[in-house]
């Protein structure tokens, strides 16, 4: 117990410390996207009508589906960790795989969305896009950068989870040592949270 508030010296393998480190990293990621959200707010404030029009061109149903997919992946992620903590290794592994699968599904959907737009000639600096109003150009600029950056983070997350899968199979993660899995979970939830904001701000602009 932490009976002495001044004494937190622990031997190597500080679980709380590792968790704190991960949280601090998450803070930095939140502000990385935060910077983009500042730009988004600025340009939406300046071009409310254009943003609304451009938003309606996005595929809302696909976006909503993707939101549900990521939320579900967060569920499976949290459950995977819970299972590991209870010693249910097989269940944990399956849930982890499910999380990764859902993440991949998200990216596939994103790929379709982008693909459709690109085929229509709507991408940064495209001749078609540049004929549109400035607000719409900005909308799509922000759309591609923010969802692109988010997508990269989803990919990174899947890769990290894949490493966790290997560690589980190699029995380096178990009932008493699951810190890496839990920290990876924190990262995954971060990716979910960012999308929770991206979704209404891009797809549901009224």
């Amino acid at each position: 117990m932490n009976e002495v508030k001044t004494s937190v010296f622990e031997e190597a393998g500080d679980y709380t410390g590792a968790k704190l480190g991960m949280w601090l990293f998450i803070l930095s990621e939140l502000l990385l996207f935060g910077g983009m959200f500042i730009l988004y707010s600025a340009y939406r404030y300046k071009n409310p009508v254009d943003f609304h029009h451009a938003s309606r061109e996005l595929e809302v149903l696909l976006g909503t589906l993707n939101t549900i997919i990521l939320l579900t992946s967060s569920l499976s992620m949290a459950a995977s960790i819970a299972a590991m903590q209870k010693g249910q290794r097989k269940l944990s592994t399956y849930l982890l795989i499910a999380t990764m699968a859902l993440g991949l599904l998200f990216l596939v959907n994103k790929g379709f969305e982008w693909g459709t737009k690109i085929e229509l000639g709507i991408y940064p600096n495209s001749p078609t896009l540049l004929t549109r109003s400035k607000g719409e150009v900005l909308f799509y600029g922000l759309y591609y950068v923010m969802t692109g950056l988010h997508g990269l983070h989803v990919l990174a997350g899947i890769s990290v989870l894949f490493v966790m899968l290997i560690l589980i199979l190699k029995e380096k993660i178990g009932k008493t040592h699951f810190t890496p899995l839990e920290n990876s979970g924190l990262y995954w939830h971060l990716v979910d949270i960012i999308w929770i904001f991206l979704y209404p701000l891009f797809y549901l602009i009224t």
Partner: protein, 100 residues
Amino acid sequence: MKPEEEIGKSRYKTYLLVWVTLVILTGMTFSAAGMEFGRWAVLIALAIAGTKSGLVLNYFMHLKSERLLIFKVIIPLVMAVFLVFILLTFSDLAFRGGVK
């Protein structure tokens, strides 16, 4: 807290309940977009997104069960920092034409 003691706070039922709430809130924000809220629309959307994030942070990421002060402080801290950045930036953007 030792890792073994963390086990107590992980429960499947809670996670499922949170997930259902999240899906409902997603539905709410989706339908809210179809309604005429005018100036309030953005705030409503942000409020819902904020609630969803709060659920993910507190339950999936276990922030609610953290005891140390530092964990309780970090999310409010980053929110405050972001708020300050955006508000001060808007002190420029919203008043370019002069203060009315």
